[in-house]
């Protein structure tokens, strides 16, 4: 069959979501951020919330998220995205407000804001990208870094005696009464991407329904920080990250 016969709108199976614009993304090749951006754009289109969504961008690699998705954005100070989201949602309760944060932002400098926003049961969705490292600043150790994992500030591996244990912040958040959804997903295979899409959709619906705080943790790769190829980083994540951060729902009410 001639390829010109296939390329027509009625045969379209998959395309870049319309909400994602043509700006070249600054992420490294193979970075999980791009996939999650696409999923968020897709879900917002599906729910018809283009004009009603306000995203809160973090500090970290996703600091420029506002350049790539055509929705309203605010840029928070480092770690303060849940606080800014609280204000936004309370002032404009008919909007869908979500934060997009990495592990250095949410689990280190922003721990207090995250826990208290969740404890108050603010009607926001938190998308948490956990790759166990500070990606933007050059691969330093984060609270979520695995035991014995080598980073630029723990070159001999993370020693739990002196540097502490990997912080399972989602498990902590799931205990709080204000949280209605705490789930862990990944985006390394097509099936995982579809699962993440379902959970992000549920989180956004919870935000609009006023059910409480929803947290979707996406266990991700940082192939540049981990010093691997993107495909090898996915395999490493399955082998090493998943035993510590198991995929699945911790809370879904």
């Amino acid at each position: 069959m001639d390829t010109n016969n296939i390329i027509s709108p009625e045969n379209l199976v998959y395309a870049k979501p319309e909400l994602m614009n043509d700006n070249h993304m600054h992420y490294c090749p193979g970075c999980s951020h791009g996939v999650v951006h696409k999923v968020i754009a897709d879900v917002i289109m599906e729910l018809g919330l283009q004009e009603k969504t306000i995203g809160i961008a973090p500090v970290g690699c996703a600091v420029f998220a506002y350049k790539y998705l055509d929705i309203d954005w605010q840029e928070a100070a480092h770690g303060r995205a849940p606080a800014l989201a609280t204000a936004t949602k309370r002032l404009l309760p008919d909007r869908m407000v979500f934060t997009y944060q990495g592990d250095g932002d949410l689990a280190a400098i922003g721990t207090a804001e995250t826990i208290h926003a969740a404890n108050r049961g603010e009607n926001i969705a938190i998308i948490f990208i956990n790759n166990g490292i500070y990606g933007m600043t050059g691969g330093q150790m984060a609270p979520t870094t695995l035991k014995d994992m080598k980073t630029s500030t723990s070159p001999d591996g993370r020693n739990v005696q002196t540097m502490g244990n990997p912080l399972k912040i989602l498990d902590m958040l799931a205990l709080l009464d204000g949280v209605c959804l705490a789930t862990r997903t990944s985006v390394h295979t097509p099936a995982a991407v579809k699962k993440t899409r379902r959970m992000i959709r549920l989180a956004f619906e919870n935000s609009m329904a006023g059910k409480g705080t929803s947290i979707v943790e996406v266990v991700s790769t940082c192939n540049a920080g981990w010093k691997m190829t993107p495909a090898a980083a996915n395999d490493w994540m399955v082998e090493h990250m998943f035993p510590v951060y198991p995929i699945g729902d911790l809370k879904n009410i």
Partner: protein
């Protein structure tokens, strides 16, 4: 059984040659250009075996940069 024919359109300027779509493809259709590069110096992806494509869109789902548009038609 009706045979399904697929086609993957690549936005070569946007592709960063991360190879994730090549790994995700179940029928070994895609490959990175061995010599050609785009304006940013990345070896972008192309359809090495276009006849094998079934239009499953696995490549599209895992592509971090949204470079791939997938079409499918019954032959």
């Amino acid at each position: 059984m009706a045979k399904v024919k697929g086609y993957v359109e690549v936005n070569t300027a946007r592709c960063k040659g991360c190879n994730l779509c090549v790994v995700a493809c179940p029928t070994d259709v895609l490959e990175l250009q061995p010599r050609e590069v785009n304006d940013r110096g990345y070896h972008y992806v192309y359809m090495k075996n276009p006849d094998e494509c079934i239009g499953c869109a696995n490549c599209g789902y895992v592509c971090p940069d949204g470079c791939l548009t997938v079409y499918r038609k019954k032959a």
